[in-house]
Symmetry: C2
Subunit: 420 residues, 2 copies
């Protein structure tokens, strides 16, 4: 079966001026990959009629599926709609249901609708309007001569749900074969060591197995195709089983998201509470945990103790340890974690102390402390990074602290995954 | 004078699979804009010889300056070097100085050099090698028939310094006119209200004035050109003066970076210390402050008190206030800030309490508390965001808390800027 070839057009002069970071390209690329559609090109083009027209023509010529983002707004710079309609030879007509939708939207937010907004209700003949429940600019789906064009609004918080709810089902139905993806979240082994273990499995194309490294974590993505979803799912299950047999001890979640989400979900389910005591991470561990909605069920207290004085005064780290071993030591990491646990009454407390740099001889040396009713221990984490990577060192340290909290609670394993 | 037209080619199949987020495109776009070079296209293309060749040919045909990122590594997937050389009709030759460089690099890191690495020492005839002091793959500059091609490595921590140190000077010299950019960092006024005040100034092209909004802050970018740098700088100075006259009260820095950097620099200079007490922000305020190197001079203690119990126990927020007004109230915000100041002995403490969502009727309601030896006050911040924007609400709240700390210290104004 011939796989479909896709192309992404990101429209907007602001992208060519470097004003904003595009995230739509990556989002759409990943989604297309999950659908088994090959993305060959991704082009950023400004709000310039001639250059946009050229880019649209080229895309429609060489690709089966073209997805654009941006240029659907009400201003005269917004020309994506007109350009695609013109390239496909479709006439624009006022779309009454969209007029009504826009009118009631403007009434509901108490703003006045301008004539310009009316341009957003112009729809090429035969096109399908993709209703935008997340903003004002409707999306469009135009089809002609086996070419499929999807026009989506630029803001990611509109584009992402629009793709998921409106475009994905159409692309999914379009294909004879159905693709299904699953992810395994891995922590505690480097990408190359993991590849070593899984090399032969990574050779296959269906199911495919691909690793993505990020800040000391690895995500394994498994994609299979089948005549129907059930068949694809079954193939994924087989691959997941093989990976778990070889590297299961490092897999902390299946179709999960992050260490912090696993922690909040699992601690919450067991009625456990966590506290933090942070030095070099400066609040990053608590920030990550509390970024998960529902965190209040497991998290009550985090102390960010940046000076020796505060470590002693608030967390009761002994002056003796601070003097004898310095603030970056196993002893102090353990006393910080103990202090946080005592203060908060939490079941488990974790701490992080170390040198984040940017300068100094011992940059990258970090101790993570873990304290529970069973024991208190410290883990040495040599991030091995050179100077100037302050945020990277902080990030690795926060990941390790959260992973250690999961381990201490006996909840690290993927067997605790809610989505397996 | 004809402005030069540039094009960016981002090379890598991993970008088309959505595995990694490209940041090079935005970085290069901004840098080119600052140099007065017009960027018309930015294309992502995979490691496929035919498609890369087409993209390179098209770029060299329609643009004066072509900058590529990626595909310079040692593996057989890395074909950018060969493709450009071929397109420009230049033969590849072994470059002895680069061989020596690579050899000594591999010796220094204790790794074995492979035959593949030798490919990185192949240089098109007449090309200039752009020495890479940040990694192994050297960059290349090829020039032919008024076309300029710059090949840079893909990793941002190599590409960014390579552009800054190696490419920028060449592009700068290439142009008759010299471009200079300055930024004004703005907080406390929305983008559209600011545009209202500055509309006529934004019409001009040289100096140009452009606003960029980000998480409740606005960055104003001013760019001028001149026969020499001094002339361009002088034009920028005139524009800066005009902006300050109209909206100076919102400008907190000149050529600065962020509220937290301004805080760390200015508090440090005055010998002031800050403490934080966070509820909805969950450590984000302290995380931001401690992300600035040198933060230890101004920051000692942050408390992340997520529950009422901890607000009362650690920060001594009164049970009466918690019961009468609830944890999200002016009274509690003020008591949290007071508590943090008392515990830490800091000069100024800030707090944040509110509803980050994702659900609930009062999502987006936030109180920021500020306490100093002079007074304690609370600020109501109605972020006006709908549900589901938890991180956005947290981010706005953290910005406001840091801005209020600067205001309380009388250090908010741009007049405290170290770079003006």
């Amino acid at each position: 079966m011939k796989r479909q070839i896709a192309e992404i057009l990101l429209v907007g002069t602001e992208l060519l001026l470097g004003d904003i970071m595009d995230t739509n390209g990556k989002y759409l690329a990943r989604e297309l990959s999950d659908l088994g559609i090959d993305l060959y090109y991704q082009t950023v083009v400004g709000d310039n009629p001639k250059r946009l027209r050229e880019a649209v023509n080229r895309a429609l010529e060489r690709s089966d599926v073209v997805i654009s983002s941006g240029g659907l707004g009400p201003t005269c710079d917004d020309i994506t709609r007109e350009t695609f309609a013109d390239a496909l030879g479709l006439e624009l007509k006022l779309h009454e249901p969209t007029v009504e939708r826009l009118k009631s939207f403007f009434t509901s937010v108490g703003r006045k609708m301008t004539d310009n907004n009316m341009r957003q209700a112009m729809v090429p003949e035969g096109a399908t309007v993709l209703t935008n429940d997340w903003g004002t600019a409707p999306g469009l789906y135009m089809k002609k001569d086996q070419k499929h064009a999807f026009l989506l609004p630029g803001p990611p918080r509109e584009l992402e749900p629009m793709f998921r709810e409106r475009v994905r089902p159409i692309l999914f139905d379009m294909s004879d074969r159905k693709f299904v993806s699953d992810t395994l979240e891995v922590y505690g082994i480097g990408e190359s060591a993991l590849e070593e273990k899984l090399r032969d499995l990574m050779q296959g194309a269906d199911p495919s197995l691909a690793p993505y490294a990020k800040d000391g974590e690895v995500l394994l993505r498994i994609t299979s195709s089948g005549a129907d979803v059930a068949e694809a799912k079954e193939k994924n299950r087989g691959m997941i089983q093989k990976v778990l047999e070889r590297a299961g001890e490092y897999v902390y979640d299946i179709n999960g998201e992050s260490l912090q989400r696993a922690l909040v979900e699992r601690f919450s389910k067991k009625g456990l509470k966590i506290a933090t005591a942070e030095s070099l991470t400066g609040g990053l561990i608590s920030k990550r945990i509390t970024s998960v909605s529902g965190a209040s069920a497991v998290f009550e207290l985090g102390i960010c103790s940046y000076s020796d004085r505060i470590k002693n005064k608030i967390l009761s780290v002994s002056e003796a340890s601070l003097e004898e071993y310095s603030a970056v030591s196993e002893a102090v990491a353990m006393e910080m974690a103990e202090g946080a646990r005592r203060l908060s009454g939490a079941d488990i407390a974790v701490s992080a102390t170390g040198y984040a740099g940017p300068t100094g001889e011992r940059v990258g040396l970090v101790y993570i402390g873990v304290s529970s009713s069973l024991s208190t221990r410290a883990v040495k984490l040599d991030t091995g990074r050179r100077t100037g990577e302050r945020e990277y060192i902080r990030s690795l340290s926060a990941s390790r602290a959260i992973a250690e909290a999961l381990r201490e609670a006996g909840l690290f394993s993927w067997e605790n995954s809610c989505c397996k």
